[in-house]
């Protein structure tokens, strides 16, 4: 068997543990992260209304990624983590 040359590289992935789930949204601040596709705002506005009216969320805060084709900037993720107890990240159409 002649020598094989593997052209592939290992993915550079980090495995992160999930944050602790809040259990209930009552009295919580929930971030709504629009990934930047059309009508994401429209969809998330409806989700936010449901979370406030039916699940007792105290406040929902709308955020938007600059583009869906890149990961969220670090400062944006940090801001959400500081201000919110939970976040909904939505994929639009």
């Amino acid at each position: 068997m002649p020598e094989l040359f593997d052209p592939t590289a290992k993915p550079n992935h980090r495995v992160e543990n999930l944050a602790v789930r809040p259990g209930s949204l009552a009295g919580k601040v929930v971030g709504l992260l629009d990934i930047g596709k059309p009508k994401g705002d429209w969809f998330l506005e409806a989700v936010g209304e449901l979370l406030r009216e039916n699940y007792g969320a105290r406040e929902t805060v709308y955020y938007r990624k600059p583009t869906h084709a890149k990961p969220a900037p670090g400062e944006l993720a940090e801001e959400i983590a500081q201000r919110c107890d939970a976040v909904v990240e939505a994929l639009a159409y």
Partner: protein, 328 residues
């Protein structure tokens, strides 16, 4: 029926491993990989960058292996190295091509002395088959995207249609038949240097214009023909850009009238008008004249130019140019 299994048949072994683009590859040998490392001026463990979407490390060794597989000879390696550095550049945002549903492919435009040094065709059949340099340089970069970046159709790549341009998409600018300064000079590289410019683009679309000798009329037809990019729908005016590859005959109409590249682009921009889908009022296709990049490519004898629709600007993707270091 598959061939009978033969472990010494490396072409079939590389297929089995899932390491090809669907075409047979050149099985790498230590000698060939080392020759490409020398030609690219790369230590084997030097990391050129990380390749999206998996952000695998593009070491000299891995890039050289993929380049051998694509069919590269030493003279092609400097172009591959510049291309890999562009693909790893955050400005280029390879992430958008590697994982999204669209069909754009990283187009490589070679300028300056790097064209002759790398055996790159700029004339007849520039977008097509038949020239080793064009075929293997673009192919090497697509193999890097699949093997180092991990982007395979049906896997991380969710491309709906793919594109024939995803086998290889590499051209040279026909600087000798252009009335204007070449692309790399427009983008800030010295005229005597070789350069590679890349932008993710859809497959080329031919625009036919026959019997037009006036620059105004030529620009008007080109501008109106460009309104079909993506869709004749106002949603799509937000576009990062298109590349217009003028055929030498069309370019000569502008050159003969003494039009600069900027003036030509401006009139094309103003002619690209489409109706607003809600109220029918005239709406510009492009946000600015700078959304249109003009190059000259292709051979003599035809009445065609080629339109290369770029990937959307909201993908955060930009055209990137880098100089090419001559082969070591």
């Amino acid at each position: 029926m598959p061939f009978e299994r033969d472990e010494s048949d490396l072409v079939e072994v590389y297929y089995e491993k899932g390491w090809t683009d669907g075409l047979p590859v050149v099985p790498p040998t230590r000698e060939k990989v080392d020759a490409l490392l020398r030609a690219g001026g790369l230590p084997a463990d030097d990391v050129l960058g990380e390749i999206a979407p998996n952000y695998g490390a593009a070491t000299g060794e891995k890039v050289a292996i993929n380049a051998v597989m694509a069919g590269c000879a030493p003279e092609h390696m400097p172009l591959v190295v510049s291309g890999v550095r562009i693909m790893a550049d955050k400005e280029f945002n390879l992430h958008a091509i590697g994982g999204m549903t669209d069909s754009a492919s990283p187009l490589v435009i070679v300028n300056g002395p790097a064209r002759e040094a790398g055996g790159i065709n700029c004339g007849n059949g520039v977008f097509g088959n038949g020239t080793r340099g064009n075929a293997v340089v673009g192919r090497a970069l697509m193999l890097v995207l699949a093997n180092i970046g991990g982007s395979r159709p049906g896997g991380i790549s969710r491309t709906m249609f793919g594109s024939p341009a995803r086998y290889s998409y590499c051209i040279g600018e026909n600087e000798e038949e252009s009335p204007w300064e070449p692309l790399h000079v427009e983008r800030g590289i010295e005229a005597g240097r070789g350069a590679v410019t890349m932008l993710p683009c859809e497959s080329p679309h031919e625009i036919r214009i026959e019997g037009v000798t006036k620059a105004e009329e030529m620009a008007d037809i080109l501008g109106r023909s460009m309104c079909s990019v993506w869709s004749a729908n106002k949603h799509h005016i937000h576009i990062s850009g298109v590349i217009l590859a003028l055929g030498p005959m069309h370019a000569a109409v502008f050159g003969g009238s003494g039009w600069s590249k900027a003036a030509t682009r401006n009139v094309i921009f103003q002619s690209a008008i489409m109706p607003d889908e809600e109220n029918g009022s005239p709406l510009r296709k492009f946000l600015s004249p700078e959304a249109i990049t003009i190059i000259v490519a292709g051979g003599a004898g035809g009445i065609y130019s080629m339109l290369l629709p770029g990937i959307a600007d909201y993908m955060g993707t930009n055209m990137v140019t880098r100089p090419v270091e001559p082969a070591g």
